[in-house]
């Protein structure tokens, strides 16, 4: 088996990172196994469930379906990069306040997916939130409080995403 590694440089949560990765490794694997960022998680093998969602140059992507080498030179944001100076992002605060998480496994992906939406549409309608979240499965909450939390965070963030 060819396990040769190639160099990769990218920015993760605002910090430039240089490491050597196998060309076959996904961004998800590199984030988890090489950089110890455990917020992005595996939930399926078919680019479907969204537990692996991260922001790649601001766009929500399923990191299980991005090869790490494809992220060369890009900016990656994981949930670990959200709480600035130890203060929660308004989305995170809203998820906590509204009970929008139960087991928590899908939560980082949900929060990042919501962040991508609010960056593009600061006051989305409920329908737009639902449609945007297709691609992030949750089996615990029934999505109800997730949608409420996103609406509340949007209202709080009015005036531009931090």
């Amino acid at each position: 088996m060819n396990r040769k590694r190639v160099p990769l440089t990218l920015t993760v949560n605002g910090e430039e990172v240089s490491l050597n990765v196998e060309p076959r490794q996904t961004l998800l694997e590199v984030l988890r196994d090489e950089l110890d960022l455990t917020g992005a998680r595996r939930g399926c093998e078919e680019n479907f469930c969204g537990a692996c969602t991260v922001l790649l140059d601001g766009v929500a992507v399923h990191s299980c379906s991005v090869l790490a080498v494809q992220a060369q030179g890009s900016k990656v944001t994981t949930v670990e990069g959200l709480a600035a100076d130890g203060r929660l992002h308004p989305l995170q605060e809203a998820f906590v306040e509204y009970g929008a998480l139960q087991c928590g496994y899908c939560t980082p992906g949900m929060v990042l997916s919501a962040l991508a939406l609010l960056t593009e549409k600061p006051r989305p309608t409920e329908g737009q939130i639902r449609e945007h979240l297709i691609g992030n499965l949750c089996r615990c909450t029934g999505y109800v409080k997730i949608i409420q939390a996103i609406q509340a965070a949007a209202a709080k963030m009015e005036g531009g995403a931090p």
């Binding site: 088996m1 009970g99 928590g104 615990c140």
Partner: protein
Amino acid sequence: MTEYQSVGKSVTRLEALDKVTAETKYGVDLKFPGMLYARILRSPYSHARIGRIDTSGAAALPGVRAILTTDDSPPVSYNAVYSGLSDKFVKHLVQDQRVFDEVVRYVGEPVAAVAADDPLIAERALELIDVDYEPLPDVFTPEDALAPGAPLVHDESPNNIVGRPIFFQMGDVEKGLAEADVVLQERYTTPRHQGTPMEPHVCVASWDRQGKVTIWTSTQIPFRVRFVLARVLGISEGRIRIIMPQVGGGFGAKQEVSIEPICALLAKKAGRPVKLELSRSEEFACTTTRHGAIMDLRMGARKDGTLTAMDGRLILDTGAYVAHGLGVATLASISFTGIYRCPNLRYEAKVVYTNLSTSGALRGFGQYQVLFPVESHMDMLAERLGMDPLEIRMKNHIQVGEPDPRTRFILESCGLDECIEEGARRIGWHKKRQQRSEGTVRRGIGMSCIMDVSGAKPFLPEQSAAMIKCNEDGSVTLLTGVADTGQGIRTALAQIVAEELGIGAEQVHVTAGDTEITPFDLGNYASRTTYVAGMAVRKAAAEVKSKLSEAASEMLEARLEDLVWEAGRIYPKGAPQKAVSVPQVARYAQHTKAVSIMGTATHTPPHNAPGFQAHFVEVEVDTETGRVKVQRVVAANDVGKAINPQDCEGQIEGGILQGIGFALSEDLRFDESGHPINARFSEYEVPGPDWVPEIETILVEPIEPTGAYGAKGIGDIVVTSMAPSIANAIYHATGARVRRLPLSPENVLQALDESKGSGAAG
């Protein structure tokens, strides 16, 4: 209604901040020095004898550290759920599983396993293992398995029936049916569902040099895993430590011993920690599903609506191994016989082997398979009698003071009437029932009543124990064996302790689910944790309170009987200005009085305090495509007392969505060689955010006297109502009665055709 300072408040989950920042670690995040990664080689055949296994190629691969095959399997047959339970509870223990058997009985059954330096090497090693299979005749449906001359899945079980059918009888059903003015007989089928928790199964095992193994596993049942594993591994419980990391959902999928034996045996052989994770396809195809079921139901009623007879014959497809099968068959009889008053009852359940993956626990455990038929039947009986569906249910359902026919437990709380009345009012039931829509897209409204237990008494040794110790700052540490798989039990228990002691819930530090540290609890299932562990925790807190009182009486130089507790402050009656706080007393006790204040309790509940619900749905049915959309749900739940209302709502909302998935689309299907066809999210459709209807929840609190602050369970019941409510609404909308789940476009269209053919009103 008493107002409390912590109980009844929507206190933020204790672990929410950690979860929302990914501080929380799940099993898959665990890393240990020298840890190896495991993969399982699985049978491609549905039924085969294993011959020669050649592992030489795999063993030669650099980085492979241990390989297991049938040769390494402990020569012990076990039941992944019930091995180790006393024969008081498990009268017919069927132990039919081995870690690696010489005969495999379903596609995906483990044949070998490898531990290697990284997952890629482990996967490559599997490809290098050579197995000789001798295929055997197979059988894939219970009907085929029961037919004379069918291939046997287990030689010990003639006709492929596990043990003996579960049977219960009261009165005389034939007489009851003869006395009825209306008799209805139908067959209903429910499919295999997969719980699909977002976190797949994962396990890490590590042995010390004294022969003790520690296993971190994503499980709902740490103590039950421990005593089953004791039998499988041939070591005693004290030498096995099961630790739950945060678990990413269970729903029943993690309610038996599954990958722990293979993981532990690999770790032993390799002499290093081993991590074993399942892929999502393994989750779908090789972990447990709900038992597919066929129910033949006869019910009779008088003109005035009283039920005279209920006769249910249930066939459960348990797959290749029985595991939970007899338990599901037994517990299903509780709601079947218990929800409605009926003098003549007959219940018979056969648990049948097939060469498909093992069925197991799933939210709604047995109640699901019997209440879809019963609640469909109740609507049809009501129609024949010219009664409103609400009326027939209110007339017949069990009331406080009445005994459950099966268990003889007397019902002590029931809020079902209030659930029905309030739910009906909020959805506009009576007006909408009169409305008939026209055209290709029809609207309809339907409902169902569900009863489900809080705990599995008398069928299991129901119990929970708790230990609490005071810290000098007046906070307490609660040790509880409960399994928090995301439902929020740790927070609810903290609230109960907080209430008892007059401190804040955030002052209760909870450690849960570690068999070494926390006292015994049976686990997270049968909606038992708030009801059973809640009481254990309350009792332990009461002991802490009385010891704090002793210390306070010394501090205040007052008599114990003169002390008043008020909002976390203690003072002698009539002298509130002398009040001391719990932190002050705790510090005094530890550092001045020189005693440690602790409380312990073990609790066995007196019965199983059933919860009740009435869920109403409005649906839209496209009669051309058969597609059903749930527009609105009003969900009324009798929870006894909502310890944390926000978490109760979360359970209801989550259960409704999962229930809609189970009702409308979820159906794990297999092809003619026993391979699962739709073992992936893209083909086994679970609800996404675009499925969410308008949901209104109503919490009804009749106060259960045997639950902590009146609380009962809620976790299972919430998924069971959607199938019958939606089916009843489809009937209201179209006149088509669907008796085969899921209520897929295909099944709805077929029912529509049948209803046209029979001339039923459309």
